[in-house]
């Protein structure tokens, strides 16, 4: 795909789940490190982005796995690479970007569960305890894995720390990819 994009600049339109999503930033980063041109076509979420790809409106798409795993497994979509640190357990033949020679090209889409800041702590504690209990059930872990998710479930303090490390990380990616704040 990189070779073809280099041979025919701007032949590729890529669908993303929206401006500023991690798939969008990953694709912009790929344009830089791969030395290719692609036109960004943002949608309001991964589902409409993938529908556009299936309909041929765009030639490629970048998406978190849950929106595409079923289409990959059914053969409707061809997976070119995963951006995680390791291959996805249920897609053993799909290489990582690092394996393809793109050093440090690791991007994972996280999902956060949050409550407004003034929520009474005893309610936050109840929500947290129950959601962690749910997310650690083996049948839920399996159900999520089959949908393309890996459970972290590290609780409020761990999530707070993760948020504080993720923000500067992505700010750095935005700067390196040359994306102008909107």
């Amino acid at each position: 795909m990189i070779a073809r994009a280099k041979a025919k600049p701007n032949e590729f339109n890529y669908a993303s789940p929206g401006a500023g999503t991690t798939p969008h930033l990953s694709a912009e980063f790929l344009k830089i490190v791969g030395g290719i041109e692609m036109t960004h076509v943002p949608f309001s979420g991964a589902a409409p982005a993938i529908q556009a790809l299936l309909a041929g409106t765009t030639q490629v798409a970048v998406s978190a796995l849950p929106a595409v795993l079923g289409f990959i497994q059914s053969g409707e979509l061809k997976a070119l690479a995963v951006t995680g640190a390791h291959r996805w357990i249920d897609l053993p033949d799909v290489p990582t970007m690092v394996e393809l020679g793109y050093k440090d090209f690791i991007a994972e889409t996280l999902q956060f569960f949050l409550a407004p800041a003034k929520t009474p702590p005893d309610i936050v504690e109840k929500l947290s305890a129950k959601s962690l209990e749910v997310l650690k059930r083996p049948e839920i872990v399996d159900q999520l894995r089959s949908n393309g998710y890996e459970v972290i479930a590290n609780g409020p303090q761990g999530l707070r720390q993760r948020i504080e490390t993720e923000v500067p990380k992505w700010r750095d990616v935005i700067a390196k990819a040359g994306i102008k704040p909107v």
């Binding site: 999902q111 949050l114 407004p116 003034k118 009474p120 409020p156």
Partner: protein
């Protein structure tokens, strides 16, 4: 009951809540408007700031369905897409902080502070005071309920 004389600042609330979360201990924030023992007394809404059937929507529905059962109540998922997630974020940030409006959000939550400079111009005073504090407003809006999952792009 301590600290009932004045309205505590937002940061003070955040600090008090953090302590309670970490230690599961008593906190100074006893002026709660709802009781955890009775919670939930009505359906809980989880806002997803993206279209249905995407990664954030799917996890919200799986979590919501099971969380509702675990809490002995109902959890409904409401999609409020737009502006890269900022519409849904803003909706929950300004909703009543009573545990009935919650947010499941993708990494947009940690990307947007670096991307939506213009939409956050009202925060410029805060930003100038502390260069690394762009997410401070978002941090002060939200308390992490629990980390949920990650998915590969």
């Amino acid at each position: 009951m301590p600290n009932k004389t004045a309205l505590p600042s937002r940061r003070r609330i955040l600090r008090a809540a953090s302590v309670a979360l970490g230690a599961a201990a008593t906190s100074s924030f006893h002026v709660t408007r709802a009781s955890a023992a009775a919670y939930p007394e009505r359906p809980i809404k989880i806002v997803v700031p993206f279209a249905p059937a995407g990664p954030t929507d799917i996890i919200a529905r799986i979590l919501g369905q099971n969380l509702g059962a675990a809490l002995g109540g109902n959890v409904i998922v409401e999609n409020r897409p737009g502006a890269g997630g900022n519409i849904g974020i803003g909706y929950v940030a300004h909703a009543e902080a009573d545990g009935y409006a919650l947010l499941v959000i993708s990494s947009a939550f940690v990307v947007n502070p670096g991307l939506y400079a213009k939409s956050l111009t009202t925060l410029s005073r805060i930003l100038r005071r502390s260069p690394n504090s762009a997410p401070r407003r978002m941090r002060s809006w939200f308390l992490p309920g629990s980390a949920s999952t990650r998915s590969r792009n």
